[in-house]
């Protein structure tokens, strides 16, 4: 209300007002009982005597911009009336909280800085409802969170022993490789374009895992865009990696319980049950598109490249040969398997794992 308006009101109707100033400098008056509903304002008024006139307007914290202040005052205006029933209040709250997520976050922040706990609780509940049940991708999208964890970091915390160790191995390998390549990219600072993978004939390994068109969905074989013979195997593996990887990337290890279990189950369902993993790939490939790094094959240290290729080939070979036995193992011992730990240096561990397999 401006001062002109105030002059029009009859004297007996005049209420006291509190002056508030937001961080952008704008000052406004608010009815006293409404403003005093906020503990922080209440404190300023009582303890410091501020807010009685324009010159002594209470400076609100920075997190309270005029739009938020207006919302908060609406909330206060409703709730400070003592006669309302719980039902009315709840109903008001439900309607009040309907706003886009950005405003909701701002409102939470603003309410917190004004120490208005009921509103903080209300907004926190609303934010929790938004987060609940969603996949990490969805959550990132809603809140604009950067996806800046490496694959390894995502996998680290909560692996589950019901994982198929084969999948964990693939993930580890992939994560390690990706990390290395990412580092290189940072060094070079090259913007890398995604190059579509050529259709290539599918290796036996992949046909075990995911059927015929594992590649043709435009898998982000972000690691290896240069296709040479060696790469082929690796790519098959990486695409399988990606498939499983992506699937496991979305949730963290916890959800690996369900995702790996799903994947594991697809594996269990039979060697030929490739369709499930297909669907898995389908689901996740849309999300994987931010993997921009890794298209710098040319610059990869050839020695490293060699090493990685060797590992993968070794692994692929081993998988191929062991497959029937592994299937048996998976079917009978699936959830008793202990996690096998790998060092970043993949070599030793691969060997170790390989050794343990080749009994």
């Amino acid at each position: 209300m401006s001062e002109v308006d105030m002059a029009v009101i009859k004297p007996e109707m005049m209420k006291s007002y509190i002056w508030l100033q937001t961080a952008d400098g704008s000052i406004q008056q608010v009815e006293q009982e409404v403003a005093m509903f906020c503990p922080m304002i209440c404190h300023e008024v009582i303890q410091k005597g501020m807010g009685s006139s324009k010159n002594y307007a209470i400076s609100l914290p920075q997190r309270v911009n005029p739009a938020m202040l207006s919302l908060i005052l609406d909330y206060c205006r409703f709730h400070q009336v003592p006669g309302r029933s719980n039902k009315e209040r709840k109903s008001f709250d439900e309607k009040f909280i309907r706003m886009d997520t950005k405003r909701l976050c701002e409102l939470t922040s603003a309410a917190d800085s004004l120490q208005l706990k009921p509103l903080v609780d209300l907004t926190s509940r609303a934010l929790a409802r938004i987060i609940e049940g969603k996949s990490p991708e969805e959550i990132r999208e809603i809140f604009h969170l950067p996806d800046d964890l490496t694959e390894e970091e995502k996998l680290e915390p909560l692996k589950n022993t019901t994982d198929d160790p084969r999948i964990r191995l693939l993930n580890r390998l992939y994560a390690k490789k990706r990390k290395e390549l990412k580092e290189r990219q940072k060094l070079k600072n090259i913007e890398v374009e995604e190059e579509r993978v050529d259709d290539r004939s599918v290796d036996d390994l992949l046909s075990f895992i995911n059927g015929d068109n594992g590649d043709s969905k435009g898998i982000k074989n972000s690691k290896s865009k240069k296709k040479n013979r060696r790469r082929k195997d690796q790519q098959k593996n990486t695409s399988a990696n990606e498939a499983i990887k992506n699937h496991n990337k979305e949730p963290n290890g916890l959800n690996q319980v369900c995702c790996s279990a799903e994947v594991g189950q697809t594996v269990r369902a039979g060697v030929g049950a490739t369709s499930n993993l297909h669907d898995v790939e389908d689901d996740i490939f849309d999300n994987k598109n931010e993997l921009d790094d890794g298209d710098i094959d040319d610059e990869i240290d050839p020695a490293l490249k060699e090493k990685i290729d060797r590992e993968v080939e070794d692994f692929a070979r081993r998988l191929n040969s062991d497959w029937p036995e592994r299937m048996q193992e998976i079917l009978s011992f699936g959830h008793e398997r202990k996690p096998v730990h790998f060092s970043l240096n993949g070599n030793g561990s691969l060997r170790r794992y390989a050794n343990s397999e080749q009994r």
Partner: protein
């Protein structure tokens, strides 16, 4: 990346708010936030409230798998957790006597646990390990289906405010000393105990909830009790025990609770109170008692009726009264002591604050009708008297109504509602 960071809506909120949000999520979702972004990696790890139930794992028909999954999840979560854990709740039917629980409790006992809730499954009951008794900061303890055996050196939880033991195997002495050893105890709930004889000494106790086969209960030192709810299941030997007892249960139970505000009695509570010799005038007045609910009152037992009368006549501020009957209609024809109402009944008592009365499961036996008559005649502020007949009574309803019509009402605005089902 700057662009993304400035667009990030939520990571900048203070940790207290983030924790408040994460606490409102199921624990599984909360832990999953660790892979959202680098800032979120450990935001969940400092949560002080961890609530686990079967939603943490994928359900499947394979019970073993679910158990393993749940155990793994909890173990890992605890292992990754940082900082104090103030509340730990585990509700599951899948785990009973699992060795991992001991380890979790040990971990929690080292992490300042304050609230512990263990609801475990049927089957072999979990034996609570000794480390639980080292949890010095415990303020709330809920145990379902456990064995509880405090070591002899255990003196009590000095900070405990709320104790809830449901289907817990524990010796009566242990319970008594536990209760006495928790000086701050405000809320006590004991349910499904077998033949428990208990003396409760809890100077700060405000809320009491008892349900089970109690042989004997004495509230020796509970001056601050505000609300109680008691359900006494009767077995044959308890009934026998009662036959032989001569102590006045009413005084032993309700003799020391002057601040009582709400009293709820289920099944046989009034019978329990009626046991023993009547010592005449009640020493205390229940000046704060506002709501009384007594279920399964047998209006054929004169002693039970006396108990009810005694209670309400000593409650000058009673506002709400609810009584459900449990009379056998076949015996209704011949009602002894009907003169009581004319002769001995206190005629000068007035229920000045009584507003709402609900009589349910009424069979229409004479004493019930006399009681209603008594209430109507002595409640000047009565607003509603609702009467629901017992489902088995079909023929007697008309008679009940006819009688009701005749009764004088002290309150001009009293409504009598006869509720048919």
């Amino acid at each position: 990346m700057d662009d993304v960071m400035s667009r990030d809506l939520i990571s900048g909120l203070p940790q207290s708010i983030i924790e408040s949000i994460l606490t409102r999520l199921p624990i599984r979702d909360a832990v999953r936030t660790s892979i959202l972004s680098s800032k979120w990696r450990y935001k969940w790890a400092t949560l002080t409230q961890l609530v686990f139930d079967e939603k943490c794992v994928i359900l499947s028909n394979d019970r073993c798998k679910v158990e393993d999954g749940l155990v793994n999840f909890i173990t890992r979560t605890l292992f990754l957790h940082q900082g104090p854990i103030h509340k730990f709740q585990l509700t599951t039917t899948h785990l009973q006597c699992c060795p991992d629980i001991d380890q979790w409790l040990l971990f929690l006992s080292r992490n300042d646990i304050k609230e512990l809730v263990l609801e475990l499954g049927e089957g072999e009951w979990f034996r609570v390990p000794s480390c639980l008794f080292n949890c010095k900061k415990l303020t709330r303890l809920d145990l379902f289906r456990c064995e509880f055996d405090p070591p002899p050196t255990f003196k009590g939880f000095l900070c405990l405010k709320s104790l809830n033991l449901h289907q817990v195997l524990v010796s009566p002495e242990a319970i008594e000393s536990l209760i006495s050893g928790c000086p701050l105890l405000e809320s006590l709930a004991l349910s499904y105990f077998d033949s428990l004889a208990l003396t409760i000494r809890a100077p700060n106790l405000k809320f009491l909830c008892l349900e089970g086969e109690f042989k004997d209960i004495c509230l020796e030192n509970t001056p601050l009790l505000v609300a109680m709810s008691v359900a006494m299941y009767m077995t044959d030997d308890i009934a026998e025990h009662f036959e032989q007892s001569s102590t006045c249960n009413f005084n032993r139970f309700l003799g020391g609770v002057p601040r009582l505000e709400r009293l709820i009695g289920h099944i046989y509570f009034t019978k329990f109170l009626s046991i023993g010799d009547d010592l005449g005038r009640l020493p205390i007045t229940y000046a704060h008692l506002k709501v009384v609910e007594l279920n399964q009152v047998s209006f054929e037992d004169m002693k039970e009726i006396l108990v009810v009368l005694r209670l309400i006549t000593n409650s000058p501020n009673l506002r709400e009264l609810q009584i459900s009957g449990s009379s056998n209609t076949l015996a209704a024809i011949d009602a002894p002591d009907l003169d009581f109402w004319e002769d001995e009944c206190p005629s000068n008592c007035t229920f000045k604050q009584l507003r709402v009365v609900r009589m349910t499961d009424m069979s229409g036996v004479p004493h019930e009708m006399e009681f209603i008559k008594f209430l109507l005649a002595n409640s000047p502020a009565l607003e509603t008297m609702s009467i629901s007949p017992c489902v088995y009574v079909m023929d007697g309803r008309l008679n009940m109504l006819i009688e009701l019509l005749r009764f004088r009402r002290a309150s001009a605005q009293a409504e009598i509602l006869f509720i048919q089902d």
